[in-house]
Point group: C2
Chain length 403, copies 2
């Protein structure tokens, strides 16, 4: 072993290649229908608005000098103001000083890990949960505690028991979460907040899909419930991103939290990468202020069509032994195979026989469970590919069940 | 204390606000001459080339979709190829697979910390050294070991003693380093590499100022010496950036290291922020390939004028009790005050009486020494401001010496 490899940290030695990343090669092959990607559809990116805003900034002698210089670690002030205005209310305003801009919400997750986790600390997350959160928090070597989450919601009794036992925080996606698209009820949201307050365990709320509610009534976020009832001592930190609502290519997300935590995050941001690119923040600010409302409407119409195509195809083709979630938003359907069927083995066969790929569910569980589950994304394929791909996947499941 | 603050990690509790950041407010006041900023001069940014490249990408239906989507965690392949071609040679080619793109070299420093440092590990750095490196590595709670570095070079005996005692790596800026502008001799470079090999301690070489050699002969980097003599088992990892050569606003830097380390870095990048923005990488790739040679010539002429203005002013105005480095490149002069004079107190008086600011030297030392030193940047002020500001600073030093 080389001198460099000899010196790896424990965290580097523990890193494993990502299961999703490993599928990128197959996804790019001609004829493959990919239900694997977590990326939004490039067909919906507001190209002309982005191009116009960019050129306006780079043509203005004052703005271009600001856009191409180092910037404040907390982020571009007008963008922090926009985020604060969008998410606050007249009764409980959110200050721009409660907002730190990050390079996508993945960086916000990593900063949460840096800010709170000592090695061995308990961190509570749902099972399944966003694999990127497990990776980001995992860098700081916590002990993960898993709370079961399914289409009917979160296991509150299990959550209470684990909060009572103590933890650094509880990480949750209340709306259309990755991977299983669950939307928590209002009663569940209130119960989670009440329990977190009772046991004084902070909540990390991830709202990556806030612009992608496709049906049903919008419910208040945990941030809203928290700030509305006690703005003086917030217990909820909120993570957001423009990756799904505008474009992931500019890498702009944010975290909203209490100001003493923002002060720590500013030092962490400075030590981690100084600041997010100013040009990107200025483009996002200008475009979001200009088109977010109309663009959001267009976006939801597109993803509703995609989701409905997938739900219709699943209903038409899947055997009775298979169940799946019916998401009210986001990009994902979560599928449960017959007990004993291994989604990893299914992936292999589905790729070979039907040129269909997806992400096996085990990687979304901190405890390695969920072997008979998988995530289907309806973001990238056409509605025809969705219909054909789901039909093909159903054929493979039937043949494996029969064998 | 709030529930959120109760849960801070040890590393978050240890964070202190940055001394340089604290000066940003004064730097923006009218009439203030700032020798504090580490930023490159916006007057030299290649605005038209950047604007043209950006508009070309955002006008091309295929390229814009790639630019605004998620990208590979290792970075944009053509840019990795460019970096590899620039820094490799026909005798010892560097593969694009040896290169990972980061969000500025600050992120590369943080990734080095993540990759190698367990809490309490020894890390060897020069004294003084880049404060951002101390901050980035500091997140992983090492024990810092300081090797004296002055205008005549590095204390090699001290380095050998510390390498022999063991460490995770030795961090060094061989060329025009921040803060003291030292350029190590060829003999010193060879000795460092030989010692690192003997004791099997990796070298982290930071070459942020590679395009800013302003006088004298260019010397081979540690990367070149390492790869030229034993490409099979590299012991040098190399950090570079486009922040000083093109613009810091796009946040594009890189690390070159052995491929097993790159594999770890890819997982670290994915967990940290998924990938650096594709649009920014594509702009930098197109502009660097197009204008780097001619732009570098222009840039060096500008900074040479700035440096010479500062060295002339120091010679004209400073009392005999003050000494300073004569950098062959970069952006900084390092000044040593009479023994017993506190640069922090001098800063206060210089700001009040002469509206001149700089960075006191203590923050560049991991051991808190260097109280009578300070860093002067010649990047942002005009040559007239440099002349006036240095004259004013000399007046304050004389008056404090007399008192």
């Amino acid at each position: 072993m080389s001198a460099l490899e000899n010196q790896l940290s424990d965290r580097a030695n523990a890193l494993k290649p990502s299961a999703i990343r490993a599928m990128a090669k197959q996804a790019g092959m001609p004829g493959v229908v990919s239900f694997a990607a977590g990326a939004p559809s490039a067909s919906q990116f507001p190209f002309e608005a982005l191009r116009g805003a960019t050129d306006a900034i780079l043509s203005d002698p004052l703005r271009r000098a600001e856009a191409l210089q180092y910037g404040a670690s907390e982020g571009y002030l007008p963008l922090r103001e926009f985020v604060a205005d969008q998410l606050g209310s007249p009764e409980w305003p959110i200050s721009p000083d409660d907002v730190l801009i990050t390079s996508g919400s993945q960086q916000a997750l990593e900063f949460v890990g840096k800010t709170f986790i000592n090695e061995g600390d308990r961190v509570i997350a749902c099972s399944p949960t966003y694999v990127g959160a497990l990776q980001a928090f995992g860098l700081f070597e916590p002990e993960f505690v898993a709370i079961p989450l399914n289409d009917s919601g979160l296991d509150l009794a299990a959550l209470e028991a684990e909060l009572k036992a103590g933890a650094k925080f509880f990480y949750v996606m209340p709306d259309h979460g990755n991977p299983n698209g669950t939307m928590l009820t209002l009663a569940q949201r209130k119960a989670i907040l009440s329990l977190a307050r009772q046991y004084e365990i902070p909540i990390i709320e991830d709202q990556a899909y806030d612009q992608l509610q496709l049906s049903g009534e919008r419910l208040p976020t945990l941030l809203e419930l928290d700030r509305a009832s006690d703005a003086a001592a917030p217990i909820v930190s909120y993570l957001g991103t423009f990756s799904k609502s505008l474009t992931p290519g500019l890498r702009v997300g944010w975290i909203i939290t209490a100001q003493p935590i923002i002060a720590k995050l500013v030092s962490i941001k400075q030590a981690s990468d100084l600041n997010s690119g100013m040009l990107n923040q200025m483009i996002v600010n200008d475009v979001a202020r200009d088109i977010m409302v109309s663009h959001g409407t267009k976006l939801r119409a597109f993803y509703k069509g995609q989701r409905d195509a997938m739900l219709n195809a699943l209903k038409a083709h899947m055997p009775d032994t298979v169940s799946w979630t019916k998401p009210k938003g986001g990009m994902f359907v979560w599928l449960t195979l017959p007990a004993g069927m291994d989604a990893g083995a299914l992936l292999q066969t589905a790729f070979e026989q039907e040129r269909v790929i997806f992400v096996p569910g085990a990687s979304f569980h901190s405890d390695g469970s969920g072997v008979n589950t998988l995530r289907l994304s309806y973001s990238l394929p056409s509605t025809q590919q969705i219909a054909d791909g789901i039909a093909g996947l159903a054929r493979v499941i039937r043949s494996l069940s029969a064998g």
